[in-house]
Symmetry: C2
């Protein structure tokens, strides 16, 4: 972390990036890093295409000055690229036509699979969230957190620990949470925005996901489905698929939960979650996907019903071969 | 708290009680208090009728020695009654035929409406959960928490803060959470048991609640319903009604959420939740119910559909008279 600190202290015009489909942890890390750098007097820029942020997370964008959200006009004099919460450089969230400037990359992340693609790499898979790492870094830099920054980082911590309920919830994560509360994090407000404020089409999507949930005969695999027609019928969009795989996952005894969504005719997005000792990553990889040991994804092409039938069959069969689905200790660390 | 400490230090045979329909906070407080007193060498007894604990919380009972769960055979020599998380003495969870022994009552609670019915009263409405108070007390008493006790108290804290997501989540609550994690609380395990392990009939009940959710024209009131017939059709029981009112509450803009469940033919249980500045308690009281400013309940008698129609009408009308539904600051503290 010392190397990161020095690089940031020396930077005059840093660019702050995150990953595509940004979630609460990515946004919390990215936005807080930006405003803290600005407060340090640096001419920091944000790289965050506004249309990439889903409706659920729009509330987080209100926590920083709106003029900070504009994409940078020119990047020639960027002297440091800070990338947060992003395992692979190809996942950096940027407009397609834009090339990153030729500055050094400072890579701050908690994904085990991080490829150490930066000139400076601080990758800590024991951190429950990247927001927790950003908190520690800013503390070391002597930054005074504002209430809005504390709120953003709390959103990230809360998001990646699923409300401090997953096995990745360490005492460090909770200690940082306590410190953020002491800095004035608006916990009730942000959690209402993130977890208790579904738009009507999002709620109707939940109705579909609940209604369509099925359980395998053996009780160890549960899945739900959303077809193109169902997306249209409730006025929802495939980008509204977020954590709905938690619905089939919520059933007792389920080891593998799957959500199938027809993102466009003939294309089926597959969200996979595993419980207990199960490692879902080999299954995801066999479907040309990727991710973590207990949270992974893939996309398959073909008639929707065929994909559902084939993938659930493979998932159930794989449960009979537990040797292929066992998590290593290292992978489990990164299971969120 | 000093008075409580002294009373506990002097007790030889204390009895530990909680409230009817015990939730995670009540059970976490009660079971931890019991095992900690036992570890101090006291002949502590538990008053917890086993059939009063819902299926969801059975996992918590596994965290203490099973012989501790037996109801006490005779109560003659009880020299202190410790009651946790219980606002009113009539809510103490005990077999109907049993009279409490004539010992002093030590009342430890975080409900604002607590009637200070004990000889010793420690009531702290700023505490997010009673488990947090029990942690502080045991710390003062010099008790060394076991991993199971830390797990139980974490369950209580997590439950009453809704995963550290409600406005009652203070930095103290999170600091205690961090300490419990340091004591070895099995966070992933207990949260899976509590939040990600629905039995099939509980899941089917959720499907019914989602499918039956309706939103008022004004968008400020949402409700769902479960009839006797629906309970039977999915193999569920009215005691399975717990926090399902969160379903209609999850819609953006909803100020009042209601769950109507037909507990027996002609009897309708009404769970009420409020958001923002709304105080639902006057509405609950007008229906002969009670509770907190933002979480209250009542029971009404009459044909199910009539009760639903009348109560939703009253709720929607009351939203047009905000002066009757404004929380005081003190009431808000107690809103969980």
């Amino acid at each position: 972390m010392q190397e990161v600190r020095l690089a940031i202290e020396n930077a005059r015009k840093p660019l702050v990036c995150g990953h595509v489909n940004p979630d609460a942890d990515c946004l919390g890390s990215q936005l807080t890093m930006l405003t803290a750098l600005r407060a340090m007097g640096k001419d920091a820029q944000l790289l965050l295409p506004s249309e990439s942020v889903s409706g659920k997370y729009q509330g987080l964008l209100q926590l920083i000055p709106q003029e900070f959200l504009q994409l940078p006009r020119h990047l020639d004099d960027i002297d440091l690229i800070i990338v947060v919460d992003t395992a692979l450089p190809k996942r950096i969230n940027k407009p397609k036509e834009l090339d990153l400037p030729p500055a050094a990359i400072c890579n701050i992340d908690h994904h085990l699979g991080n490829e150490n693609y930066g000139q400076i790499n601080w990758v800590d898979p024991t951190a429950a969230s990247c927001s927790q790492m950003v908190y520690t870094l800013l503390d070391t830099l002597g930054a005074k957190l504002t209430a809005n920054e504390a709120t953003l980082l709390y959103a990230g911590l809360h998001g990646d620990t699923c409300g401090f309920s997953l096995a990745n919830t360490t005492h460090q994560a909770l200690t940082v949470g306590a410190s953020l509360a002491r800095h004035g994090a608006k916990i009730g407000w942000v959690c209402q925005k993130l977890h208790r404020s579904l738009q009507i089409h999002e709620f109707k999507l939940m109705q579909v996901v609940y209604a369509n949930t099925k359980l395998s005969e053996c009780g160890r695999c549960a899945w739900s489905t959303v077809t193109q027609q169902e997306f249209l019928a409730v006025g929802a969009h495939p980008r509204d698929i977020d954590e709905q795989v938690l619905v089939p996952r919520s059933i007792q005894g389920v080891k593998i939960a799957i959500l199938f969504s027809e993102t466009k005719p003939g294309a089926v997005r597959i969200n996979l979650r595993a419980e207990d000792e199960i490692n879902i990553l080999p299954l995801a990889k066999s479907l040309d996907g990727g991710g973590h040991a207990q949270a992974a994804g893939a996309t398959q092409h073909g008639p929707f019903d065929d994909v559902v039938r084939q993938v659930t069959k493979i998932a159930i069969e794989s449960l009979d071969h537990p040797e292929s689905l066992r998590s290593t200790d290292m992978e489990k660390t990164n299971a969120n």
